[in-house]
């Protein structure tokens, strides 16, 4: 198996790609609502700053001990 290729160039931004997507405005709004749903169900914990997550872990470890 060949060595994995390291992708070093960043892809175009969403704004830059929107020309290619050509999604009608009304539909885009619906898709953005879906994204909001995703954010609310998937990103709540992950969005917390790393130090907050660490302190939460420390607190749990301390209470377990």
């Amino acid at each position: 198996m060949r060595k994995p290729i390291h992708i070093t160039t960043l892809p175009p931004t969403l704004e830059e790609m929107e020309k290619r997507f050509r999604i009608p405005k009304a539909r885009k709004k619906e898709l953005q609502e879906l994204v909001e749903e995703f954010k609310s169900t998937h990103l709540v914990r992950d969005m917390a700053p790393p130090n907050l997550i660490d302190s939460e872990k420390r607190r749990k470890r301390a209470s377990a001990a």
Binding site: I7, T9, L43
Partner: protein, 206 residues
């Protein structure tokens, strides 16, 4: 000579089958999470010879993935062999031979060693084996490519599942049952790009 290829562009040569749709969505979601941008023949607007348009798209991408996992003839009495994918692979191989710095192609299969029987001229080419599962596609994508901010395979898989769950609604909204239609492909790209960006944002800086 065409302009230099998009360094993040990946031409996807996959079967346009309903049974393949879960793997197709996994390719789209996975590539965006690896900082790559998938391209599909159906995204090219009409006009001119289809083969010319496909060749142009291949030339515009730095990489291509050729999934030959579903080349078998179906049992229907009118079934004919599927030649499009091997044809597009052949064109790509010739393009890479002529301009190796401009293009790199990858071969994907669901079963190990089958490619040696279906296309023995490809002996010596390592195929990425995805076992016919979305998990396998994502695993093999991360074996083929990596970027500094790529999420873990389980994280990508979670995002994939969420997007795949929305596919029926996307088909309905676009008045089609074909997930390979341009409009559906673009919506899948749009959502995948946003989710990939969100996931990258939540990753600590390296």
């Amino acid at each position: 000579m065409p302009p230099p290829p998009d360094p993040n562009g990946v031409f996807l040569n996959v079967p346009y089958d309903k049974e393949f749709s879960s793997l197709y969505v996994a390719y789209i979601v996975g590539l965006f999470h690896l900082d790559l941008v998938p391209h599909l023949a159906s995204e090219i607007p009409g006009g001119g010879r289809r083969l010319d348009r496909i060749f142009k798209l291949i030339q515009s991408c730095r990489y291509s993935i050729h999934d030959l996992s579903q080349v078998e003839v179906s049992v229907a009495p009118t079934a004919v062999p599927r030649f499009n994918m091997p044809l597009e692979l052949g064109i790509t191989i010739a393009w890479e031979k002529l301009h190796p710095s401009r293009h790199t192609w990858y071969l994907w299969e669901s079963e190990p060693y089958r490619i040696q029987r279906s296309a023995s001229d490809l002996n010596g080419t390592d195929a990425y084996i995805h076992n016919g599962t979305p998990e396998g596609v994502l695993r093999e994508l991360s074996n083929a490519f990596w970027s500094d901010r790529m999420p873990s395979v389980p994280e990508i898989l979670e995002n994939y599942r969420w997007i795949y769950h929305k596919l029926d609604a996307m088909l309905y909204k676009n008045g089609t049952s074909n997930p390979y239609d341009r409009s559906v492909f673009m919506e899948l790209c749009y959502i995948s790009k946003i989710l990939a960006d969100l996931t990258h944002l939540t990753k600590p800086a390296v």
